[in-house]
């Protein structure tokens, strides 16, 4: 008996070896095709064709000839994706529905000859013009194009491409993928010694961040001639520092948008004076307590100048003066140890005086997390180390996020007090807050970019309810005016549902909350496969709408104005605990 078993193993080994052997001997496949310009069928020569084998790190690379043709006569059988790139065109993939979308997999079998591959490339667009500074050419300034990004329904900007102007103020932003963009000009107070250009695919914005943080001087002197009474800040096309007044620029394939001139001269700056009330008395023998007062812009623009996020320290008597602030709406934050305070200010055409900010010790909010196990099997999920957070709503840049760690018995306290901390941690001050449960209930990821994956043991968890007494804190804000007397009760569900449906192959399917959580958490997305099927797993029970778009900009569903125009296309879906819902009708 024992002998027989060994024989069997040996036999299997032989079969496996034989199998491997025949794989190595498989005749190669051969591939050829043509790269053409979309719409014109003009061949694209000197395009780089990259054949990526699924699961392999190295790739086969060739170039197109003058007829746009490429040849790969010796290819190991397998699954491949073909990517084509060319100066002046948008990177393309074999089988993609539109520029920027995912391509399809090409399966090559032993000895197979595929000679009819056709890949279309879309021409990139150009935006060019002049940047002026009070009418004078602004050399070595930046023109930047942004993709609009909606986070929690608010517009913000994701830089896509940047380039410098020359001494005549002329700039060129070129080979832009078709799309809708915002354009801004930035005149730096001191010219930079560093220069970068971003990736038109938006994957690398090191240039822009570099320029925002490091401004080496061009001048031999250290003066730089920076004005004390004015400041250059980003100016959006056609000519306002307020992004709400920016014009969307629709770049069509091969578009040449010339004469996109921007006057980006400086804004006059103002002073902000006031008093911080409640500054703690200094310890005898120690220097007086100085409270840092900082201002954060609520304009939704990006920061290139210290006058957009200025700060100052208080004098011993609690007064402060911030000497250089560009006009706009700000939140003014002050903090000292566990004391903090804030107020919203708006600066227009004159200095602000008599601003008063009170320092408060903050409240303590505590509560408990309960796991509901109805209908669920398997081991008790580990909720310890979930983090319950309170975040200002609407989001105030630069404000503190208060949080507490969930203990193994489910209890939590905000603010969390570190065991050996020298000073107590600041607690939440009066205001409106969202209750978050990290990492399972978080605000949407900015830029509609990829949502970080949850650890496997947390993937089926969701926040079912958050209550303080009778108040629903999952769909509404915590309105803090005084020390709360009741605890926060958070119920974690463990029995999510799922949704299946059909759409045009390659479409982006999105499952959107049909309640107050819309725009406030990440929506679930899925790509319809080659047969048009899509699926959403681990869907918390509730009411949703499902949408599918063949062509959609990443994260566009976070834009309320876009969604208003699309609302009727959505298919309502109700998900019950542990149930799988099926959408009968094809979505698009």
């Amino acid at each position: 008996m024992k002998l027989r078993r060994n024989f069997a193993i040996l036999a299997i080994t032989f079969v496996l070896l034989a199998g491997f052997h025949s794989v190595a001997q498989q005749p190669a496949a051969s591939l050829q095709g043509v790269v053409e310009e979309a719409g014109s069928a003009n061949p694209v020569s000197k395009a780089t064709v990259t054949l990526n084998r699924a699961g392999a790190t190295s790739a086969e690379v060739t170039r197109t000839d003058s007829d746009g043709r490429f040849y790969l006569p010796n290819i190991a059988p397998g699954q491949y994706r073909i990517v084509v790139s060319h100066a002046g065109h948008v990177k393309a993939q074999y089988g993609q529905l539109h520029p920027g979308s995912e391509g399809t997999i090409l399966v090559l079998t032993a000895g197979q000859r595929v000679d009819n591959i056709r890949i279309e490339m879309t021409r990139g667009g150009v935006i060019s013009g002049h940047i002026t500074d009070n009418g004078r050419p602004a050399g070595l300034s930046d023109a930047v194009v942004f993709r609009a990004v909606y986070t929690e329904g608010q517009l913000s900007f994701d830089p896509v491409l940047a380039n410098r102007s020359d001494d005549t103020g002329e700039y060129h932003l070129f080979w832009l993928p078709p799309g809708r963009y915002y354009l801004a000009a930035v005149i730096w107070e001191t010219a930079s010694a560093v220069g970068w250009i971003t990736n038109a695919e938006g994957t690398d914005n090191s240039f822009f961040t570099q320029r925002q943080t490091s401004r080496s001087v061009f001048m031999r002197t250290t003066a730089g001639g920076v004005s004390e009474t004015s400041a250059h800040i980003p100016v959006f096309y056609p000519g306002s520092p307020d992004p709400q007044l920016a014009t969307v620029i629709d770049v069509q394939p091969g578009a040449e948008l010339r004469g996109m001139d921007i006057e980006a001269g400086p804004l006059p700056t103002r002073h902000v004076k006031g008093t911080v009330v409640g500054v703690p008395a200094s310890i005898p023998g120690q220097p007086p307590v100085r409270v840092n007062v900082n201002m954060r812009s609520l304009m939704g623009t990006f920061t290139t100048n210290a006058a957009q996020s200025p700060n100052a320290n208080t004098e011993p008597n609690g007064t402060f003066e911030i000497t250089k602030v560009v006009p706009g709406r700000y939140v003014l934050n002050a903090s000292a140890g566990n004391l903090s305070g804030r107020t919203v200010v708006e600066i227009r055409d004159r200095d602000l005086t008599n601003i008063s900010v009170s320092l408060l010790p903050g409240f303590t909010v505590s509560g408990r997390v309960i796991v509901e196990r109805t209908g669920a099997t398997g081991p008790e999920p580990a909720i310890a180390n979930l983090r319950v957070g309170l975040r200002t709503d609407p989001l105030i840049p630069g404000s503190t996020n208060y949080s507490g760690i969930v203990q193994s018995d489910g209890s939590f306290t905000i603010p969390a007090t570190a065991p050996n901390a020298a000073a107590p941690t600041a607690g939440p001050i009066p205001g409106d807050y969202r209750v978050l449960v990290n990492p399972i209930l978080t605000p949407p990821t900015p830029a509609g970019s990829s949502v970080p994956a949850l650890p496997p043991q947390l993937q089926s968890l969701y926040v079912k309810s958050i209550r303080m007494g009778d108040v629903d804190l999952l769909n509404e804000n915590l309105h803090l005016t005084a020390q709360p007397s009741a605890p926060i009760l958070i119920v974690i569900g463990t029995n999510p549902g799922s949704v299946r449906g059909k759409a045009v192959p390659g479409s982006t399917a999105v499952l959107i909350h049909d309640n107050a959580l819309r725009y406030r958490v990440n929506e679930k997305t899925s790509i319809a496969d080659a047969t048009g099927n899509f699926v959403f797993e681990n869907v918390p029970p509730g009411n949703y709408k499902a949408f599918a778009w063949e062509i959609v900009e990443r994260g566009a569903w976070g834009d309320p104005s876009f969604m208003r125009s699309q609302e009727e296309r959505g298919v309502p879906v109700h998900i019950d605990e542990g149930k799988s819902a099926i959408i009968d009708s094809k979505l698009n």
Binding site: P73, A87, D166, A191, D204, T222
Partner: protein, 648 residues
């Protein structure tokens, strides 16, 4: 066009007059005007920066200011000030002013001391100017201001900047967008002219470029193909001209691979192409940019640099184990110097093998760096023991190689650990001591010869020592008794001695009977004899003044001492140079006894006089001087040699 000279003289005359103006004792003042060069056209809104770089006994500098000034103003690698306020040590010593519509400026309430005055205009349409320049690229001249003095009518002349424009095309004449274009300016390194990067930018979608805000001077223009998929390009240096360390880039050639219908593979890449259609920077055409001028049509076809490329394949062997070294960093660095070196890089696989693609038919140096393997079950012993066994924490190997028309296979690079070389520095005529202050300020450095961009340095990281063992001195540090130790890689080097007091000179450097000063340091394995360095104290001095043809003093002129014998002119340690002070006086110290020629110019690129091509046409204008041991030559009068200057 009057440029430089006249302006400077005017300024100095102004200063001389001003010095006679009496004022109440106490604070001094300075006033003057900024104009466009060669004109009386005032420049409004110019920023002036006045730095007190030397104090007096009565009015000393702020603590730490002197050191920081010397780093910022004269250091090889000045710190980037980031556009922020100057550091606290020097802030109290710097004052600012702005010119009015009439171009005039003034400073009041000045302490006595030596000052440096610079003018800039935000934006770059004017090249920054300093007081006392003969040439816009030259450093200015610090000038003394005494207590109560009222300095009037200082004049600074600012040159407008120029521009170079053109188009980059490929071999078919098609415009090449997103291609790097560089403006290169000439600098001398040990007498060899080298063209360093002054500005870098990318062409636009039409292949067009505009290099702007160029100071007057000669430029070459180079184009480098960039990967169009990689739109984030580090543009590298673009700082103020003549102020930084060597400015160059190292990038990887962009490989263009084409598989033919029959399966054959052609690999090509673009080399760096210079204006004039050449790939050798020395043969490139230069453009003499004059103030305010724009030079159009400086077009380059990258076709001239397109070539079939080859593979370099082989194995890196660790000398410590005799086994192939996985994970070794391998580079192929072209031996022909270029401000934009196209370097091939790669890493060895688990078999210690590498395959570098993109080699042009030219000479390369292959270098391999191997880290000592991390401690694991197969490598018993502590870090210190392992590093002793491997000869340090890393091993370096290098191999010169010439690529002809084919791939090179089976290359074997042996990576060795560091070599320990003891040495001793002796100051001539000095009794041995263990705590000599002069000796303990010295340090020994080594530079690879040739010194190629991106080559691993000569000094190797010191191995950790087993616990309980005393740590050895820092690599190259000279102790108070003159002893030093080098722990360095194998290869060819030049050795230099730093921190030699200004009245002494390096007399000889020997290993056994070999004269290292003459032949260089060649390490091929263990070194038996120690390095012996003798510091001479019998150097002579030469002093005098630079005067114009009308016997006027020529402040801020450059004086250089060149060995008389042609065979000694490769010895850069024999040259001496100085800048004349405000009265045109100069002094050269620690001159090695021998015969020399002495030259003076209003301005010359630093170390230009070490280049035979520079000296040849003016050989006969040099004044012959012979210096004996501890000898002195005084009151030598020199007249500046006129050079053809940019913008004249």
């Amino acid at each position: 066009m009057t440029f430089g000279k006249t302006a400077c003289l005017l300024v100095l005359v102004g200063l001389a007059q001003a010095q006679s103006v009496a004022q109440n004792p106490g604070t001094a003042s300075i006033e003057g005007v900024v104009v466009k060069i060669g004109t009386n056209e005032p420049i409004a809104d110019a920023d002036l920066e006045l730095s007190r770089i030397e104090g007096t006994a009565q009015a000393p500098l702020n603590p730490g200011a002197a050191e920081l000034f010397s780093t910022i103003l004269f250091g090889n690698n000045p710190p980037s000030l980031g556009g922020a306020a100057p550091p606290a040590q020097i802030a109290p010593e710097i004052q600012y002013a702005k010119t009015g519509p009439d171009g005039r400026f003034s400073f009041a309430n000045l302490k006595e001391g030596r000052y440096r005055l610079a003018a800039i205009l935000v934006g770059g349409n004017y090249f920054p100017a300093e007081y006392g320049q003969h040439d816009v690229r030259q450093r200015g001249l610090p000038f003394p201001v005494s207590s109560g003095q009222a300095v009037k009518n200082l004049k600074l002349e600012m040159a407008t900047t120029g521009a170079i424009t053109g188009q980059i095309v490929d071999e078919d004449g098609q415009p090449m967008g997103h291609t790097t274009v560089m403006a290169l300016s000439e600098q001398y390194q040990k007498g060899e002219p080298r063209w360093y990067i002054e500005r870098v930018l990318l062409t636009d979608e039409r292949g067009a470029y505009r290099l702007f805000w160029l100071g007057p001077g000669k430029y070459k223009v180079a184009a480098v193909y960039e990967n169009p998929e990689q739109r984030s390009v580090n543009m590298g240096p673009a700082g103020p001209p003549g102020r930084g360390a060597a400015r160059y880039r190292a990038t990887n050639p962009v490989l263009m691979r084409q598989v033919m219908p029959n399966g054959a593979v052609i690999e090509e890449a673009y080399g760096v192409v210079y204006f004039g259609g050449v790939i050798d920077p020395l043969l490139a055409r230069s453009i003499d940019v004059r103030p305010g001028e724009t030079y159009n049509g400086i077009d380059i076809s990258l076709g001239a640099g397109k070539a079939r490329t080859h593979h370099l394949r082989g194995t890196v062997i660790s000398a410590a184990t005799g086994q192939p070294a996985p994970g070794a960093q391998v580079m192929a660095i072209p031996q022909r110097w270029s401000p934009n070196a196209l370097i091939l890089t790669g890493t060895t696989n688990t078999d210690g093998a590498f395959d570098l693609a993109g080699a042009f038919p030219e000479r390369y140096v292959l270098s391999a760096s191997v880290a000592v393997p991390p401690i694991n079950a197969l490598q018993p012993g502590t870090t210190a023991q392992l590093q002793q066994q491997y000869g340090g924490s890393s091993q370096v190997g290098y191999l010169p190689i010439e690529v002809a028309g084919a791939d090179i296979e089976n290359i074997r690079i042996v990576a060795n650990g560091g070599v320990n070389i003891p040495g001793r520095v002796v100051i001539e005529g000095l009794a041995p001591s263990d705590t000599d202050a002069d000796l303990s300020r010295m340090g020994i450095g080594v530079v690879r010869d040739p010194d190629l961009i991106a080559m691993p340095g000569g000094m190797m990281p010191l191995p950790s020592v087993p616990s309980g063992t005393p740590a050895r001195p820092i690599n190259g540090q000279v102790l108070g008794n003159g002893d030093f130790y080098l722990f360095m890689s194998q290869g060819d080097f030049r050795l230099n001695v730093g921190g030699v007091p200004s009245n002494m000179y390096v007399k000889s450097v020997r290993i056994g009977g070999d004269d290292i000063q003459r032949s260089g340091l060649h390490i091929t394995g263990a070194v038996q004899n120690p390095i012996q360095i003798i510091i001479g104290t019998d150097g002579g001095t030469i002093s005098g003044s630079v005067i114009s043809s009308t016997s006027a003093p020529m402040p801020n002129s450059v004086v250089a001492l060149v060995p008389e014998a042609f065979d000694l002119r490769t010895r850069s340690d024999l040259y001496r140079s100085a800048t004349a002070d405000a009265l045109g006086n100069f002094k050269l110290n620690a001159v090695v006894p021998g015969s020399y020629k002495l030259f003076a110019w209003e301005w010359a690129e630093p170390d230009a006089w070490q280049n035979p091509e520079f000296i040849r046409p003016i050989e006969n204008s040099g004044k012959s001087v012979t210096i004996t041991a501890s000898g002195k030559q005084e009151n030598i009068q020199l007249s500046p040699i006129m050079l053809t200057k940019s913008g004249q």
